[in-house]
Point group: C2
Amino acid sequence: MEQEYDPNAYDRPSVAVDCVAIGIVDGQPAVLLIRRDQPPFAGHWALPGGFVAIDESLEAAAVRVLRKKARIGAMPVEQVHSFGTVDRDPRMRIIAIAYRALLSPVRIAALRLTVDQCLARIGSDGRLYRDGQPIALAFDHGAIVAHTLARLRSTIDDAAFALVPERFTLRELQQVHEAVLDQSLNKPAFRRRMLERGGLRGTGDFEGGRAFRPAELYVQRPKD
Amino acid sequence: MEQEYDPNAYDRPSVAVDCVAIGIVDGQPAVLLIRRDQPPFAGHWALPGGFVAIDESLEAAAVRVLRKKARIGAMPVEQVHSFGTVDRDPRMRIIAIAYRALLSPVRIAALRLTVDQCLARIGSDGRLYRDGQPIALAFDHGAIVAHTLARLRSTIDDAAFALVPERFTLRELQQVHEAVLDQSLNKPAFRRRMLERGGLRGTGDFEGGRAFRPAELYVQRPKD
DNA sequence: TTACATATATCCAAGACGAACATATGTAAA
DNA sequence: TTTACATATGTTCGTCTTGGATATATGTAA
């Protein structure tokens, strides 16, 4: 920060947050998008975003955007990266700070998507698909999603718990890992690693209604 | 980003970059600080920072700040995190985007520090010391340094090459790892890991002038 | 010539991991 | 009622990585 400089004397960039709300849909990672109805990029899909108010923290802005634009209730968000290329928005200079939110199955089921909203599947190629058709994102939002997914992969051991039901089997946990990492994992090794990791607690209850041996249900153990 | 909203109609936060220039001094990590001469925090040490111009990318702003405020020539910088607490600056709302720069020994030797600049040692406790005396940082700059050092630790395998001379011995490389991680490392295991990592190339030359067996000098192998 | 500190190379044990296999247990089909 | 089946759960084994100890090599300096 400087002293000899009055920021009010010069044009200033605007600051916005863009929210990358990720969940697992049909065994694959998906991201919540909103269709734009105004230029630029009218008709394109975009991340829900909004400007940061003068008296509002960055996190609070991200939570507000999720509530207002996607009717997603209060939930933890995590900052991913800031994107500040001069021409990333053709209208004016906007610096976007990307925030990640992880949607549990309950949150996904509670979504009431309008025709201008969708959960777009994130393909193995990094592109986004809606009903199997590739879609183009507005602005640099494709890069923002890619960056967010890469970050999610590097922290999946912790993040996966936010993407499974409150009570989950080791199979479900592994499937979430595999969906995010986009690769299959060795089952015994995965079980060993998770159980020795210390973040799990068995409930003694078992899943039911499946045509095979029921698996024990686990919950995330609160960190000491 | 929104459509129904005119950001010019409302007060907007200012955007600044704060630079965390880290190097190894006397075998310990140190960060470049500048002493403030104006309130708030007059007399306190602070990170070099500056406002982002309307037609300037975030990275360019960080590079400019390093050049103008620390006479550090063009060098790669890496974004760390954005800090946006509403009251982090008592004067006005400023969102700070932290950038990290890694100072090689040559860069450190080329520094011509004024009395209002210093290279503060980062202690094991995370606090900063100048001439052995703990110093207080302005604003939330202490948290910014701590966050940056944590990030550096998680990427030290790549980052260490920017903190050693162009030609370096494996001992020097290990000492940089140990300084940043603040823990001693097993020597044979470190050598194995580095040599099998593929990022090194032996020069066939050896260091001299030491009262022990000379070690081979290595250079970082350009990634294919 | 010898002492010494470090470089470099091996060796071994412990732990992490992948893969294969064996047994257990529910539903559903025969 | 019995059998097939898919998965859960647990075990074993070989491989790879890593930490630690050890042995030899090689320069400066006493």
